[in-house]
């Protein structure tokens, strides 16, 4: 959260350069957009000029026909301006949306490449913010910020051009207040920036305090601390209120001040008009036009502060986005990947050392070999390193020492995609995506046909259940499979593993308790899953262990025993103790 609160400067040329790159593919559209905004600005600035013509040339001379002509011409200009403005606004949005789409995809693709190690240390909420809110903020900058700046600049240029063409003296008089306006805006921006920062800071404090005291509300209640906590909160809240009231003060001063400067300008125009009537410099029409120009002129300058806020947030967001894009916690692919020709499914760990942090080894000198087609059960006490073996086999992490081989090839010499095609993983906690039952089984793999899905489901024994659902295989799965039972979810994940028909199956058996009938179904399914392929199982079921071809006993990061159930029991070592601790109870059932 802290990271997300920081607001920096409103313009950073290094960040801006990187951002502008995302507009490069649309440079034609951007150029056209700028051209259109020039047209709009000029047509906007022409409005007071028409008033002048109407008054000074038509009305003054009693030329009713001329007045009609001017009016119609004016109408035509307005129509054109409206149409151009529409296209301009839409085009601007279009470019912004396209650029944002590209950026969002870039972030997402980058995130897909980052390794599990990255996900271990970065809260998901923060990553979501990067692809959603942060990108959204940039959208605002791209579509309203950049092009609006151009159109504002052209509007100002257009106005000055028309003003000068009517009367350069009056232009000077009317713009003589500009320095005051600039100075006032500058002062306001600086003051507001400080108070605004104070408001953000106080909001962050309120949030932190609330977050903590809502999570710890029960502690407050148990220790009868509500009153004091409330007083503390009130203080933060009051600071926030006062910071806001300070901001209000500057706004309350700024807006009337801008109006006043405008009025002074009008006052000066009037004074000058009075003094120069006979010089012919000032006509009624000119005066009317100048008063209209006056109003047009202040708006872009007044809006500057708002644009400043947009830019400030945009810079902060883009900094966070680029920090993410610069993160390169990848598992590096080998330069010349070995394309496995024949896949058998033989696994070997050769003196593997690994720690999640440097020198804090979770696996110490682990070696074992699993011949193709065999089932191996890994058992061990909590923290023995069982799950780590699976993580390494799938190359979620890089090992520090030793080698992991599949069919005699080091896994580092195979592309990650090819490596992972060897496996199907059934993890302890079943993860279902929102979609349908079928899409959760295929995970979008087009090589898995509908027939294959149904066949797999039948084989696992969940077909009956699925057929009873109103939409069968197309039944919607809610987020995280909320509507399914634990047992059903497990069976679906078994079906998924089977449908992929892997050479090697990795099963991390779940320990969650299910009813006896489901338990039977699951045991039956596991049996089918394991047959005819190399399987590596972190076992919690006695039935699975008994049927395994061999059992690897992990203890404190080392392989301590290796053999069949009967052999190991006889040894009366770690396995026999684990058996009594974890599996013996299942014997009775």
């Amino acid at each position: 959260m802290q990271q997300d609160e920081i607001l920096g400067k409103a313009y950073d040329s290094a960040l801006m350069k990187r951002l502008i790159k995302y507009l490069a593919p649309y440079k034609m559209q951007v150029a056209f957009g700028i051209l259109l905004s020039v047209v709009v600005s000029l047509l906007e600035a022409v409005r007071p000029y028409f008033t002048k013509i109407a008054v000074d040339e038509n009305i003054k001379n009693g030329d009713a026909e001329g007045l009609l002509k001017t009016t119609l011409l004016f109408f035509a200009v307005m129509m054109i301006r409206g149409v151009v403005q529409f296209f301009n606004a839409y085009l601007t949005q279009w470019v912004g949306q396209k650029a944002i789409f590209d950026l969002r995809m870039k972030i997402f693709e980058h995130l897909q490449k980052l390794s599990i190690r990255f996900y271990d240390t970065n809260p998901i909420g923060r990553l979501i913010t990067r692809v959603t809110n942060d990108v959204e903020v940039l959208n605002e900058m791209f579509s309203s910020g950049i092009v609006m700046v151009f159109s504002d600049i052209f509007l100002i240029i257009g106005i000055i051009w028309f003003m000068v063409s009517m009367s350069w003296q009056l232009t000077l008089v009317s713009l003589s207040v500009l320095p005051f306006l600039f100075y006032g805006t500058f002062l306001f921006r600086r003051k507001v920036r400080d108070t605004y920062r104070e408001v953000r800071l106080q909001i962050a404090k309120i949030n932190t305090f609330m977050q903590e005291h809502i999570s710890g509300m029960i502690i407050d209640q148990i220790f009868v601390r509500e009153k004091k906590s409330f007083e503390q909160f009130k203080e933060h809240n009051a600071n926030h209120r006062d910071a806001n009231i300070r901001t209000i003060f500057y706004y309350a001063l700024f807006y009337p001040a801008v109006d006043l400067i405008g009025a002074v300008s009008i006052g000066l125009i009037i004074w000058y008009s009075g003094a120069n009537i006979f010089g012919g410099a000032v006509t009624v029409g000119t005066l009317m036009a100048f008063i209209q120009f006056n109003e047009m002129f202040w708006r872009p300058i007044r809006d500057l502060s708002e644009k400043y806020n947009i830019m400030q947030s945009a810079m902060a967001s883009s900094e966070r986005i680029f920090t993410l894009l610069d993160n390169e916690t990848f598992i590096n692919e080998t330069e010349n990947p070995h394309k496995p020709s024949k896949t058998l499914g033989e696994i070997e760990f050769r003196n593997v050392w690994f720690g999640y942090t440097e020198n804090n080894f979770v696996l110490k000198n682990v070696s074992f070999k699993i011949s193709a087609g065999k089932t191996v059960a890994i058992v061990g006490h909590t923290g023995a390193g069982k799950t780590t073996i699976i993580n390494l086999l799938l190359r979620f992490y890089e090992i520090q020492k030793g080698e992991i081989l599949i069919d005699g090839i080091n896994i580092k010499d195979i592309s990650q995609e090819d490596l992972r095609k060897y496996f199907s993983l059934v993890s302890q906690e079943v993860f279902l995506f929102s979609g349908t039952i079928a899409s959760n089984i295929t995970l979008g793999n087009k090589n898995i046909s509908n027939e294959k899905v149904i066949e797999s489901a039948k084989y696992i024994g969940i077909d009956n259940f699925i057929e009873q659902l109103p939409k069968k295989y197309n039944e919607e799965v809610k987020e995280r499979g909320a509507t399914l039972s634990v047992g059903q979810k497990q069976l679906i994940s078994f079906t998924r593993a089977l449908a992929f028909d892997p050479k090697i199956l990795i099963l991390d058996e779940a320990t969650s308790s299910v009813d006896t009938k489901t338990e039977q179904l699951i045991q039956h399914a596991i049996e089918k899953l394991l047959s005819h392929r190399t399987s590596i199982v972190i076992a919690h079921r006695l039935s699975t262990i008994r049927k395994a071809d061999s059992i690897i006993v992990m203890h404190k990061g080392e392989v301590r025993e290796n053999g069949t159930h009967q052999e190991l029991l006889k040894q009366n070592g770690i396995y026999s103790k684990l058996y009594q601790l974890q599996f013996k109870e299942q014997e009775a059932v």
Binding site: Q97, I206, M210, D220, R225, F230, S273, G444
Partner: protein, 586 residues
């Protein structure tokens, strides 16, 4: 919209300031509205001077000063408006947020189990902010808009009523357009938001399920899926952009037509000498003044709608009744309690749960006794002890302390005499000293040190940069699980409670330290009652009574020696822990 009525009591507190604020809006409008009128006079003066070939420069200077004067006066009023109405809105925001916290502080544990912190935070920040918008801009702009409308139209009608009516012809179209386009924008906006939340959900699922995605090498597919959703979202955005892009040009066009009508027909009238050029100029200026109010109507409606929805959410919270509180049954004369506790046929079922968590618990605990509670996960151990400080009220049966039903004991007295170390330790981002002293009105560092000694956190102080003054949490140091537990124990015993509850409070403490703590606690709690929940036999073996809970019922009870002989759950647990110890040594 009805929900906004609930804000009236808040507004009443500031009624004088608000009344003054509204007055300043009226005055500022009066001043600003006079400006075009005098500018019109200047125009006429120019025409007159040109015709008569005489110029009275002082008249121009006077008009110029008058206009600047109006701007000063009007501007001062605008300044006052913001300093009153908008400031009041911030004050009410402050009041609302205080009331919000004060209210949820009274709500029971069950409320927090069913309401996410994020949800409550959103209410305290976003919802209150959008209600604030109603109170500030939501009041200021409608009043301002209405007054501008009335004043400008009023003056225009007196200047030339027929021309005014002509010019107003397109204005209803403006309102209709705002309304129609607004509705369409709202619809598109809702669709866009739905698409956005789909995109967010997809990202959320992808990041949470990244292991599965990587394990099945589905990254490319996932990128494709996300691309589809991103495209859909972009298209929704563009649909919205199309309407939004239409809005402004259409507005300006309609207003422009009004302007043309005035210029053409007004111009004809000037030619015919029916009105002066100054009047025409003033009419044009007034017309331009009306543009903003027309647009503001739609905008303000939006603010009001959002504010009303937010207020409704706040009201829902305010209307949640604090179930556990002092009632008329409370015996206010009770000033202290003892450690004699009795459970009489106590049963408890959690909200929305099918099965009861506790069934028919009968238990008598005399003063000075240590009771240990043991049993599998989900057997009701925590629920049992939570009933004592009334974090929940039992569904059936009663709990007596010193013979009095705990519902009759003032809640504050009851809780002040209980020292509770919860299963999940929770410390605040304050100093260690403040955390230990939590909830006490006085601060005696010697007593704090004494409590820290008993809980054995004292020996860690040397490792902390500023010993007892060390800040913990996000901005300070991170404590280990064991350190957190020992700090929590110090916090619970500092208040010298009559009843001490340790809910699995030694699980992260090594056995040696555990032993040291238990010995010291025994002395401290000699005349008080302790309830200790644990999974470890080592923690409970010296208790006066051990209770084994299973499925919400008392399954076994007795001393360590008695239970070992029963050959039941306790014996099994004891043997397993012996085995684990052996395994550890291998």
């Amino acid at each position: 919209m009805k929900s906004l009525l609930k804000l009236i009591p808040y507004l009443k507190r500031y009624k004088k300031t608000l009344a003054f604020g509204v007055l300043t809006v009226i005055l500022s409008n009066l001043f600003y509205i006079l400006m075009p009128h005098y500018i019109g006079k200047v125009m006429d003066e120019i025409v007159l001077s040109a015709k008569n070939k005489i110029v009275d420069k002082t008249i121009f200077i006077n008009y110029a000063m008058l206009i600047v004067g109006f701007a000063v006066a009007g501007g001062y009023m605008t300044y006052l408006t913001r300093q009153t109405i908008i400031v009041v809105s911030r004050k009410i925001e402050f009041d609302l947020r205080n009331d919000f916290l004060e209210h949820i502080q009274k709500l029971p544990m069950s409320f927090f189990q069913h309401t996410s912190t994020g949800d409550l935070m959103a209410r305290a920040t976003n919802d209150i902010a959008s209600v604030r918008n109603v109170l500030g801009p939501g009041i200021m702009y409608p009043v301002d808009t209405l007054l501008t409308l009335i004043f400008a139209l009023g003056i225009m009608l007196t200047k030339d009523w027929s021309l005014t009516l002509y010019s107003l012809i397109p204005l209803p179209l403006v309102s209709i357009a705002v309304f129609r386009i607004g509705k369409s924008i709202h619809k598109k906006y809702t669709q866009r938001q739905e698409q956005f939340s789909q995109l967010t959900t997809a990202a959320q699922e992808n990041f949470s399920g990244i292991r599965i995605i990587k394990a099945f090498a589905r990254e490319k597919f996932e990128i494709g899926q996300f691309k589809n959703l991103s495209l859909k979202y972009m298209n929704k955005n563009l649909e919205l952009a199309k309407i939004q892009s239409l809005m402004w040009p259409l507005m300006f066009l309609l207003v422009g037509i009004s302007l043309l009508i005035v210029i053409y027909f007004g111009g004809l009238k000037v030619i015919r000498g029916e009105i002066t050029i100054g009047t025409l100029s003033a009419l044009i200026s007034y017309l331009l003044m009306l543009i903003w109010p027309m647009i503001a109507i739609g905008w303000v409606t939006n603010i009001l709608q959002q504010g009303a929805a937010s207020m409704q959410r706040l009201i829902n919270n305010f209307e949640t009744i604090p179930e556990i509180r002092d009632t008329e049954k409370t015996d206010k004369s009770i000033k202290s309690i003892s450690g004699k506790i009795e459970f009489k046929n106590v049963s408890f079922t959690h909200l929305n749960a099918v099965k009861p968590s506790l069934k028919n618990i009968n238990l008598q605990i005399s003063e000075g006794v240590t009771v240990a509670i043991i049993g599998p996960t989900g057997s009701g151990k925590s629920t049992l002890v939570n009933l004592i400080p009334r974090l929940f009220d039992s569904s059936e049966g009663e709990i007596l302390i010193n013979g009095k039903n705990i519902k009759e004991i003032p809640l504050e007295i009851l809780r002040k005499n209980i020292g509770y170390v919860t299963q999940e330790t929770f410390l605040f981002s304050e100093t260690i000293k403040e955390n230990i002293n939590y909830g006490l009105d006085f601060l005696d560092i010697e007593l704090i040190k004494e409590a820290a000694e008993i809980s054995q956190i004292s020996k860690d102080m040397a490792d902390f940069p500023q010993d007892y003054e060390t800040l913990i949490g996000e901005r300070g140091i991170t404590l280990s699980g064991g350190q957190k537990q020992r700090t929590s124990i110090a916090r619970a015993i500092l208040r010298k409670p009559k009843i001490l509850i340790l809910d699995d409070a030694l699980s992260s403490v090594d056995t040696e330290t555990e032993e040291a703590i238990l010995v010291r606690l025994k002395i401290l709690m000699r005349e008080r009652t302790s309830l200790i929940i644990s999974h470890r036999v080592s923690t409970v073996k010296d208790a006066d009574i051990i209770i084994v809970l299973k499925d919400g019922e008392i399954f076994e009870r007795g001393t360590h020696k008695e239970l070992i002989l029963q050959n039941g759950y306790y014996t099994d647990l004891y043997n397993k822990q012996l085995l684990e110890k052996e395994l550890e040594s291998l």
